[in-house]
Amino acid sequence: MNTMKYKNLMSGMFWLALGVLFSIWSTTYHIGSITQPGPGFLPLILGILIVVFSLIILGQGWKADPAKEKEVSFSLPAGWKKIAYVILVLLFTTFSFEPLGYLITVFLLIALLMLGKEWRSLRKAVLTAFLTALGVYLVFILLLEQPFPRGLLRF
């Protein structure tokens, strides 16, 4: 998966599918004519261009010989677990922001991210997260008066 061949094949297929979908979708809007273009006119051209370019990329991937490239491995990138974890934390905090409120969410975001790896000890993570939440309260709520969701806590 790390060779350019597979990268081009995979991304080419992704964009091809998206290009086809986008083109078909644009035909549901009024296309018009070349001198009277409607709302679907430009999207249709763009969809077709996406299809054309992704076909070229697919072609390049097809022709490339992975044996000639330096790295021939089929593994996921080394840090993928870490990255997946960070993305999950971000998604979790996005959806917990309104029900739990900003204070708990900020605390969780920082603590979970810092604990994610052997980055920091539990005590340091909790302390940093607590101080950050306090800082957010002072700056964003008291100073800038931002209407962040309060959630479970009342302040």
Binding site: W15, Y29, H30, P37, L49, F53, R120
Partner: protein, 499 residues
């Protein structure tokens, strides 16, 4: 004497205590994110945008411009002391800057890059001051076909100059344009591709996307690479360059200023390409080119001057034509529009206080930056020592809260996270973010210009009008050359095989 009157007006605006404060904040934040690797001016300006909603437009633009040129000052510090570029525009500074630090000459390297930046920055403001009004006058004659051609040319340049495959760059530009069509059609008012969602009626916001692709995407990439920041020397020593240093750097700074400014005007060149060209030029002209990379002070002075000179250059097309020359300018264009100001040929005559105030603030800001960067260098070194494991959760938190405060809507945080993952994958698969974001900003304007041009009743109008014809011709040449150079390369290989 118009210039003197205008500058008096500008300094009157810029020297008001409020604007002076925001200029300082901009420069300070700019230096900070310049010093910190992993967060750049695109993400920062997007992040600060919501904070400017309640502010006067002039103060906002003064502050956001300060972030941009301030980042160019800060970037060199990290390059010289840590051998990691704080900013993409300081990559080349690592070569000789870090070597100078290893030889105990970190002080003069930092000093020369600050003075070079100041001179380059000032020269480019003077250029901007004279060139922008002239260009704006010429642009008054532009109609929709010319605007469309100009934007297409800019987009082509960005694609052509980005790293990696041109086809992938083109694909990214087209995808950016496609994303820009989500929401209300600017001409008929019909909604497109919204899936019935109210959030998407307004289109996919620039700020969440920019912060996703350039903020979150960058952080995810860095996490994988495990950045290790080791400050080489904490003792910096004497910062002022010696007379001998000045003698060596005199002409590199002059050349860097001119190169940076004129390349900066060119759409797509940004601040990175001028630094590479300035470095190469100095290496070519040097009597001892083999010594470049071993700690030559001109190898620090020339690129650091050029990246600051490019900031003024890139503002020329934004302020006179309303067309961004690079992605930072594209985000700044977004800031203008949010504040209800349409940048374009009429900007200077309709909002003279904003235009001249911004110019005057840039003179003041460059002065502030020398002070921020030289006597306070110790502070920046301390910040460099903050470990990435603390820094990256904080950067993510700022992105999170910043995007939410745009419209108090968690869907926009979700859009940011999705585009963050998208930006990360883009990097992994060899796609560039610059053409994508540039196309997304230009998209709505390009579509209006395109469709208005077609309404003239002649599909060939773009080629029949001289200015748009020339611009489209140039774009076409740019797109075709890589194909030919590819064929030429293959032919060479075949010939070699024949031998």
């Amino acid at each position: 004497m118009d210039v003197i009157n205008n500058l008096t007006l500008g300094f009157g605006v810029a020297l008001s205590s409020n604007n002076l404060l925001f200029c300082f904040i901009g420069c300070l934040v700019g230096t900070l994110i310049g010093v910190l690797p992993g967060i750049g001016p695109v993400a920062t300006i997007s992040l600060l945008l919501p904070a400017t909603f309640g502010m006067d437009p002039t103060a906002s633009i003064i502050m956001l411009a300060g972030v941009y040129y301030g980042a160019m000052y800060g970037g060199s510090t990290t390059s010289i002391l840590v051998n990691i570029p704080g900013e993409a525009a300081s990559i080349i500074t690592c070569l000789d800057g870090y070597q100078m630090a290893r030889q105990g000459r970190a002080g003069p390297a930092l000093g020369m890059s600050a003075f070079g930046s100041f001179i380059g920055g000032t020269v480019s403001i003077i250029g901007l001051m004279f060139l922008a009004p002239l260009l704006a006058k010429a642009a008054l004659k532009f109609g929709p076909p010319e605007y469309f051609a100009l934007m297409l040319f800019g987009l082509t340049m960005v694609t052509y100059l980005c790293r990696g495959s041109v086809i992938k760059g083109l694909l990214m530009a087209v995808v950016g344009l496609a994303i820009a069509t989500v929401g209300q059609d600017p001409i008929s008012g019909n909604t497109r591709f919204t899936l019935g969602s109210i959030i998407l009626m307004d289109g996919i916001g620039l700020v969440p996307v920019a912060m996703g692709v350039f903020g979150i995407g960058e952080i995810l990439t860095n996490l994988e690479e495990n950045i290790r920041q080791e400050v080489f020397s904490t003792k910096i020593g004497r910062i002022l360059p010696s007379l001998q240093d000045w003698k060596i750097c005199k002409w590199p700074i002059v050349r860097g200023s001119l190169l940076g400014f004129f390349l900066g005007i060119l759409p797509g060149a940004g601040t990175v390409i001028p630094t590479f060209i300035a470095y190469t030029v100095e290496k070519r002209l040097s009597r001892t080119p083999e010594k470049f990379g071993t700690g030559m002070i001109e190898g620090v002075a020339a690129p650091e001057t050029a990246n600051n000179a490019a900031t003024g250059g890139s503002l020329v097309t934004l302020l006179s034509l309303g067309i961004p020359a690079n992605i930072v300018m594209a985000v700044l264009l977004g800031a203008f529009i949010i504040h209800g100001i349409q940048p374009g040929p009429l900007l200077i005559s309709r909002h003279p206080a904003l235009f001249w105030g911004t110019i005057a603030s840039m003179y003041i800001g460059n002065g502030m930056l020398v002070i921020l960067n030289l006597p306070l260098i110790g502070l920046w070194v301390k910040i460099l020592k903050i470990p990435y494991s603390i820094l990256f959760p904080l950067i993510l938190l700022f992105c999170f809260l910043g995007v939410y405060s745009l419209n108090n809507n968690i869907h926009e945080i979700l859009i940011m996270v999705i585009f963050g993952v998208f930006g990360y994958l883009m990097r992994k698969f060899g796609f560039e973010g610059a053409p994508f974001l540039m196309a997304m900003v230009l998209g709505p304007m390009m579509e209006v210009a395109f469709r208005q041009s077609l309404l003239y009743g002649d599909p060939f109008i773009f080629f029949k009008r001289p200015i748009s014809g020339v611009l489209l011709g140039m774009s076409l040449v740019l797109l075709i050359t890589p194909i030919f150079s590819n064929i030429a390369r293959k032919r060479q290989v075949l010939e070699k095989l024949d031998d």
